[in-house]
């Protein structure tokens, strides 16, 4: 125990296979949540994340450095003269050795400057400010969809286990998990937009509509704030298909985890105790059964969120969603070094924060984690 505590303790290792999905629930954390006060714990985790992000930036920088290729030439295009290219190379320190480049980058990062994108020719911070909300809107939306639908189907399938509904949800889950989100996107696009013509296929709102004044960057919210309900509804319709194609796999996944957790818990004595003591069925299912059953679902949510973001990289391409993920793919394809580092770090930071939130939420849901005495 003492030997390990310096290194971090593996809190829980679980490789669960359910409905064709493997959950890498390797919740490994350097710090035991029960060893510290909440504030201190958050602080330590953030410091750890900073360290990881630092390593990540070093890794990307290193890879970019050893790769062949000339970002400056790519950025300026075929018509640029050699002097123009050379000038740009100096401007972005491409002519300097690796440590010096990294030093310059780190120095400007501390000033809150991520450098300029060679592709959009704008400060990257500005690009992120522009594109990130669109992706967050999409990801949150699909996160909510997968949460709600996953929970409901999971609870139903667990409670009515071995019924037709359970069978159906199992079938859907197999297919949902085996279908990559970009394939799902194309199928949904084909069916709902091309064949049925129900739903608009591209962008955040219809082309001729003017986006509402930006407040949050979330078009649906912004148009509600501006009182443009038509635009909000239009935005909602546009977000359905991409959000759904991101969500399907996770609906399937969360549904299966919730189901197995419900099935686990429903056989526990305490459920019988509640029933025997006359607690109404509704309370038993939606309170006493759901809360403990939620714990495994919530603890895979951080990973879920990360996968939704990653899948958004492709889904945004299919739906021409003008978001961060499409921007990320474009800068990657264009070898826009600064922007690549920035987008990878943003994804890493988001992931770290979401994971931290998830861990805290789980510890609140599960007093066993929060209150367990050390060494138990």
């Amino acid at each position: 125990m003492n030997r390990r505590s310096r290194v971090g303790k593996v809190r829980k290792i679980k490789v669960t296979v359910e409905g064709g999905w493997v959950f890498h629930t390797l919740t490994f954390s350097l710090y035991n949540i029960q060893e510290y006060s909440m504030l201190k714990y958050i602080g330590l985790r953030l410091i750890h994340s900073l360290f990881v992000l630092f390593g990540l930036s070093l890794l990307i920088f290193f890879i970019a450095r050893v790769m062949p290729g000339d970002p400056a030439r790519v950025a300026l295009g075929p018509l640029a003269t050699e002097e123009q290219v050379q000038k740009l190379r100096e401007e972005i320190h491409l002519d300097k050795p690796f440590p010096v480049q990294y030093y310059y980058w780190l120095r400007s990062l501390l000033k809150g400057d991520l450098g300029r994108s060679l592709y959009t020719k704008r400060p990257i911070v500005k690009d992120l400010n522009e594109y990130l909300p669109a992706t967050l809107e999409l990801v949150l939306c699909s996160f909510i969809i997968s949460l709600v639908f996953g929970q409901v189907t999971g609870v139903l399938a667990g409670y009515f286990r071995n019924s037709w509904f359970d069978g159906l949800s199992r079938l859907v889950s197999y297919i949902g998990v085996a279908t990559p989100s970009f394939v799902m996107a194309i199928f949904l696009l084909l069916v709902f937009s091309h064949i049925l013509g129900f739903i608009p296929a591209v962008g955040r709102i219809s082309i001729i509509l003017r986006p509402p004044p930006r407040v949050t960057g979330f078009i649906i919210l912004d148009s509600l704030i501006a009182g443009q309900f038509k635009v909000a509804l239009n935005g909602l319709k546009h977000i359905i298909l991409p959000a759904l194609s991101l969500a399907v796999a996770h609906i399937a996944q969360e549904g299966r985890v919730t189901r197995s957790s419900i099935v686990d818990n429903i056989q526990k004595d305490y459920v019988a105790t509640h029933v025997v003591h006359g607690v109404p069925t509704r309370s038993v299912i939606f309170k006493y059964l759901l809360k403990p059953s939620l714990i495994p679902t919530v603890s895979i949510m951080g990973l879920d969120f990360a996968f939704i973001i990653a899948n958004a990289f492709l889904v945004e391409l299919v739906f021409m969603w003008p978001g961060f993920a499409r921007y990320a793919v474009t800068v990657m394809l264009n070898k826009d070094l600064n922007a690549i580092v920035a987008v990878v770090l943003i994804v890493g930071a988001t992931f770290a924060i979401v994971n931290l939130i998830v861990d805290i939420v789980v510890s609140f849901l599960d007093p066993r984690i929060r209150l367990q005495r050390r060494g138990g």
Binding site: V152, L189, P200, I208, R210, P211
Partner: protein, 539 residues
Amino acid sequence: MKKQLLYFLVALLLIPSAFLTASEREEVMPEAENVVVINGMPVIIPDPGQAMDWYDTQVVYNLYSPLLYPTPDGKLRPHLAESWEAVGGMLDHWRFKLRRGVKFHDGSELTAEDVAFSMERLMSLGKGYSGIMGKVTARVIDNYTVDFVLAKPNAVFPATLTLFWPLNKDLVLENKKPGEYGQFGDYAQEWLNEHDAGSGPYMMVSHSPGERMEATRFKDYFLGWEEPKPTEAPIERLIFIMNWETATLMMLLKSQQLDVEMNGAFSRKTLKEIVDTPGIGLKRIWPEVWTVWINTTVPPTDDVHFRRALLYAYDYDAIMEQYSPYGAKEANIIASGLPGLVKVPPQPRRQNLAKAREELAKSKYDPDEVKVVFHYCAGLEAEEEVGLQLQADLAKLGIELEIAGPPWPQYSEECAKPETTPNLTMFMFPIVYPSPDSFMNFMYHPSNIGGIYSAHWYVNREYGMLIDKARETLDSDDRLGIYEQLQEKIASDALALYPYEIPMLFTTQDYMIGPKEVFPIVGPTESMYNWRIDLTKKP
């Protein structure tokens, strides 16, 4: 109880699907009449000092006015400048008299001050089309006269000014941010990404890069808006969108959500579908020369006989026939639509396997022992087709052709060095400014060799001398003579295979009238001043 609960919850799951059934159509009804939606490319840089890609140029032609304008037959006509001359016959000193009463979008008048400032800005930034013009110093002579002094004599200089769009000096300086250009700050580069400072037929309303740009009609445009016929209307509002998914674009076109598509990278199948779809059609715009560069520095294509053998082996008609309904025709070293084109005899234009074998026999390579590599830009099916056709043809000579289609950034980067450039690389070249120099200087001048514009890597001092000589020749007929001489030489060196030339194809709704004039260079045709809407056909 259990069952009821189940049914209730299943119904709950189904509620969102009610959304799916609501119709899209009624919501898309335009707010204002005459909205035209145009498709462009991902990020547009609508700043004349930085614009470089043809997508930028298309947009800039709508927001700004160039100093000189091309004519549909590839010559020059006055625009912001009323007249121009080489001062004292010296080709390195040009004087331009400006048109009076030209208004910028903020109502202020365009003066020599603005023009000179814009040229200085272009030169200091060193971006965009500045490379094409060379080193230029601007001098204000009076309010409406400006002199440009060049580092090297250049008879073609006026033609390059179709790519020079003066900006509103006061507005630019008002909106500069601190930057590396001293008192000029950043030359308002950032501001100009999302605003305009021009005098063109349209004014920018909003721009979110990579997503959408909107512009409205500038009523005080100096060329004036002719009284429209009762059945026609000028276009009031432009919306540029950035989308390149073929299936999506087709859907937008068919549902009339997209009026003009000028990205133009559709495959043959899609083109056919467009022609067959009622309500939309194709418009032929500027010509593009489809070019397969042959790298002359790597084996086996460093042997001129081997190169010639390739040119004779290719079956030109096979693919051209497929595209002839869309205007494909034989290609030449420079694009048709330019004065000075010669149909050069040494350039093969028919498959001739006997001759190919003959040339192959003269070459130092044994066809069985060599491999030829062909690269094209990923996603461009029409380019892949050429490669596949060539592969089949070369197989008849026993030559193996390897085909690959790397994505654009990798592709253009490969072509930055002779040793990484594949044997064959395929591109489409439009005319950038109305002169054969637009093809010659960047493709064959020894000082410009390298990159996609000259992935043949053939350095020939004589070419350079001839190009420079043409630039020093004032008389245009003499100049064209030099270009003709040059083309013959180039053809005999077998630097490129030309599958065909085809006009850029825009897909438009049938209710779009236009373009009134078709220009051979990129940009002016796409100025929406050139287009109208037929109110009788628009639903």
